[in-house]
């Protein structure tokens, strides 16, 4: 029996496409002998998959947690009618445009996103069906969808900047006594509306701190919510931690906040009927403490005695 392999190659190495752009590429068939087939088909599939992971919901729900996916797009195109593919390497080009002119205006192409509970995923599946005696050849590839340029905002004219300050009094959780008594004050500013292609930027100044600082970190958090049965499940998870100060930094020095939002793990802040994806940014200051060494590997979001934090909402947008 001859072996044959199927592969999808996209025109862009980055695999990033927009809905109104033609999604181009080729299906590559490598076969030692010629193959007869009943047609080469290409399926484009986009869907929002929501599922409950442990923790956010009860045990029972996590067992039956999979919610029926919301289909964004599902189309099958016949690239080649039934016939034969010669032996050797054969390339079959294709071109699909997701957004059909005159299509449903309400049709929304959410951007690709891989979260903890919500996945927005676009897949291309190539399929060469053969006779009953033969197994059909199949290949799948994910491509990344970004919103159409035409729909995008221009660069936010005046990015919204928030001034924050963190002291022992702004903390809602218990602190170490020496922190409480000695006091500290960390101030700064930060843009809370941010283009995905740009870094999240801001400044931070340690004004005073009686207890030496161990580290200052910026956490990007995402909040995924979706309707599950008759209630809304909300789960907050950590996307990325970026340390901006290592050790007891000099006082009154301007430290830059410069965090590049990770691709795939972030997307524009989205709110649809059945689900929403939001982001937050947390500034966490950890102080030097013997206690912290005991529990070095805990969830950084958990408030601890030797930590001070401030959480700000973060709106991520796709800009031109």
């Amino acid at each position: 029996m001859s072996s044959a392999a199927l592969e999808i190659k996209l025109s862009r190495p980055s695999r990033i496409y927009r809905p109104s752009e033609p999604l181009e590429g080729k299906i590559v068939v490598k076969s030692a002998s010629s193959i007869s087939h009943r047609g080469v088909r290409l399926a484009v599939n986009g869907s929002v998959i929501t599922q409950v992971r442990g923790g956010a919901a009860g045990l029972v729900e996590s067992i039956v947690g999979a919610v029926k996916p919301v289909v964004i797009v599902n189309r099958i195109i016949e690239v080649q009618p039934p016939g034969r593919i010669a032996s050797g390497t054969t390339e079959i080009p294709f071109s699909v445009t997701l957004k059909q002119s005159g299509g449903d205006k309400r049709e929304r192409f959410y951007e690709t996103f891989h979260g903890a509970n919500i996945n927005i995923q676009y897949l291309l599946t190539a399929d060469v069906t053969r006779g009953y005696l033969h197994k059909s050849l199949c290949a799948t590839m994910e491509f990344i969808l970004e919103a159409d340029k035409a729909e995008l905002l221009d660069q936010p004219a005046s990015p919204e900047i928030v001034i924050f300050y963190i002291t022992q009094d702004t903390q809602r959780h218990p602190l170490l006594p020496e922190l409480k008594s000695g006091g500290f004050r960390v101030t700064g500013k930060m843009s809370i509306q941010c283009a995905l292609s740009d870094p999240i930027s801001g400044e931070l100044i340690v004004e005073t701190s009686a207890v030496p600082i161990r580290s200052v970190d910026i956490h990007i958090l995402r909040i995924e919510s979706f309707v599950f049965g008759d209630r809304i499940v909300t789960d907050t998870s950590l996307v990325q931690t970026t340390q901006i100060a290592d050790g007891d930094v000099s006082r009154h020095m301007i430290l830059p906040i410069y965090v590049i939002p990770p691709r795939l793990l972030t997307c524009p802040t989205t709110s649809a009927g059945s689900f929403s994806i939001e982001f937050k940014v947390a500034i966490v200051i950890s102080f030097q403490s013997e206690l912290s060494k005991m529990q070095a590997k805990s969830d950084p979001r958990t408030p601890r005695l030797w930590m001070a934090m401030e959480t700000l909402p973060l709106e991520l947008v796709r800009t031109r």
Binding site: P13, P199, Q243, D246, S250, I254, L255, P256, V259, P262
Partner: protein, 916 residues
Amino acid sequence: MEFRPRNYKREKESRALPRARADDHPLCTPATSRPQAVRDNRIEDFFDPLRGPNTDVEGAPRNLLDKERTSGGFSAERNDPHAGDWHSFKRLLMQRFPISKMISISSISDGIMKSNKVDEISSTSSRLEELDDPQKFAKEGNTSITRQEYVFRLTDFKEKILQAWHSDDRVTALKLTIKVARLLMDTSVRQFYPTLFVLATDVMDMLGDMVWERIKQKAEFTVDGSKLCSLAENFDATGVCEDAKETCNNWFYKVGAIMELLPRIYLELAILPCWRFLLVQPADCLHRLVKMIRGLADPLSSAYCHLYMVHRARKLLSRDTAYMITCMNDMNILLMDAMSLKRDVSKTSEEKKRLLINLIEPTIEYIVHHIFEDTPKEQLATALVDLGLGGKGDNKVISCVSIVAHCYIKELPADMVRSKSKEIINLIECCNDCSLDKCLNYRLLGFRLSETTSPQDMVDVVDHVIQVVLLWGKLDEFLKVMDAFLDLVLQNQMDNHILNVLEGIAMLARDKAFTEEELGSLQSILVKLVSHFEDLEDLFGLNHYLEILDMMYGRPRSIVNVHILDRAIRKGLWQDHHIIQLLFGISKSLMDEIDQTSMIDNDYQQPARLISRFVSMVDYGSDVERHLAFLAECRGAFGSINELKEALVHSSNSLAIQGLKHSNKHFSFIMSCIAYSEVTIPSISSPMKQSNLYIETAEVALLGGLVSHAEGLAESAVSCLQSLVLNGSPGIADVEGVLSSFQKLCSLLVMVPANTGPSLNYAPKSLFVFSDSQSKMIPRTTTRLFSAIILLSAALSQETLPYRADNFGIPGNDQLFYGDSSYSQELVSISNLAAQKLVDAIQQEPSSVARGIMALEACNCIASSFRMSPETSNICFKLLGIAKLCLGAQDKYINSTTKFLETCSLPSSDEAQEGI
């Protein structure tokens, strides 16, 4: 046999070559160009041993390159001049901080431990040695590995990264590099950090270069390998295709996602040059990166991170130096914090701080160096203001850590140091931390100021510095600073300040002994003064100079003394009694020092030479008695220097001659000179030198009319030679020396009148005895000795001696004994014996050529000394026969000797003699 009568005067006239006046002095430099050209050509062929290393220079870099090639350097990097600079800097870092064998590793850098599943070497004992701080002992996860192991693992990392990269697993390559960068977070073993830095940045540079090449490839070629465009050396982002930009962006995304600050910065710096594909103004990133580095609180890692940034930023081809200035200001603040930490003031923390400063210093130096190198000249002033140097008004002066100030002073262009000297002093004044002694900054300033000579007046500056440093009241520091400023003072002829400096030293040194360190600086100061003053009178005239010199001791003092003496002997003759006494004192103290310390030959030689030179350069003019007294004093003081005693004898002899010249009245003075010499000579160790000096003194004695002294001295000379021969077998050089001394003695004896005692011709006889006694030595010398005796005897028998000493009233032998038959009989018999011995000796010579020549020499000697008689010609023909046998009949020398014999056998008429 009978002596041939000779008329020396006529012989001399007839044989003298015709003389003509020359136009040029034969030794003066030729004015024509031709001989010079010849000289140049000769230089080409001439192998100068000192040029040896020079010719190797061409080979050396090749070797270096080869080495680099084998060590896996990148081809792109080799063309870059900056790469060489960095390479040598790295090597310097490694050398400056050599590391101990074991390195303890804290839990942060266990990446290196986990990476290989090699058995971890950890032994408690080695850990104990390594831990500089006992607290860490309590920490978990501290393991020790050997240095080689560590280096080996890093190179292993490097190989793995290369492997991953080449097998298109670039993500793994990046991950491994991040692991390496993480190692730099561990600053617990400080001493090891520079080495770690060098090793780790090597890996990161490699990755950075590979990424650069990859993106460049993408920008220049399409996927299927056809050429898109070629990027110029100084391309900018506008012409770069989207695909390349996309890849480049991805790298920055990946690097940006690293959680820890330090590896994130390092990795971005590694791929920093790639910003050029993305941004038109890539240097803008540097300002952000500088600020990001502020997040590193550990001064050590922060400093090295800055260093790496400056290194990588040079690849951006930007001439922007503003970021480096921010760098320096940030480091300044960080260091100030680190220095002022008052948590514990114990000794160990002081030591730690010092170590820290030591480790950080090269990074500051490198950055400051590049600030001043890269900033265009016209912007330098602004750059300085930004660095906190030379702003307007007092409040503009930013206080600064001493070590940073030190680097500023060190790296500033020399003319800027001059023009900003006041601001620099302000800066130094403001530094009040323990990172570096203030006086070292002043010291450096002094050195830098003396580098250029500009018309600018430095009086105020010097005044100020002297005042300030004097106020500290610490001699050691004062000396260090003044040592540096002295160059400046001397250059600008600020004589007042020299006095101020000396006065300051004298004041601070009162009632205390110098320490070793102080002596070192003091030595340098005093030596500088010595070499500055042309005239020793001026030097000794300086207030406190001699006082300070007197307070010194040990080797430094000797060194100063040596310099003073060296200066003294360059000047010419010394006549001033006062100075001579001072120099004598200096020589004496030098001598004492030599005597005290064990005499190593090299150390001893120079001072001894200098003292002898000085003694021979003393000249009291007509006051010869005083001079002789001085010589006597010298003998007492420097009796242990052989060389000097020789000089002393020469001096006393020349004194005697001087005395003779001035007047004849000083007979007793000449006596005392001769006596001085006579007494001094026996203490000289070498018999050869002794005999030569005896001969010299004998000559002087003869000139002074002291015949018996002369005779006695000649006798001593002979006995010296005798002892030389008797005491073991002398070397070839000695044999030659004996021969020449002997000949010299013979020529002297021509003038010495014979005694009318029992043995009339004592001298020739004793010479004969000597010659006979040493005939067992090489026959060749023996024949010459006997020849000399024959010639002496022949000369003494003449009616008129060839030369005489009668201008001092001494009668010659010719006047005393000519015609005395017993006198001439004695001479003839001695000569006869000598001639016999001569012939015997010739026959013993083993080498035929030498024998032939000796026979001819002897033949000539006999023929010219004796009147031709059957007996004489018999001997002569016998000798000639030997010569012919040995040399062959055609020899030129034989021919001319034959001719000479023929003319001798003619009846002795004046006409015939002239035909020769």
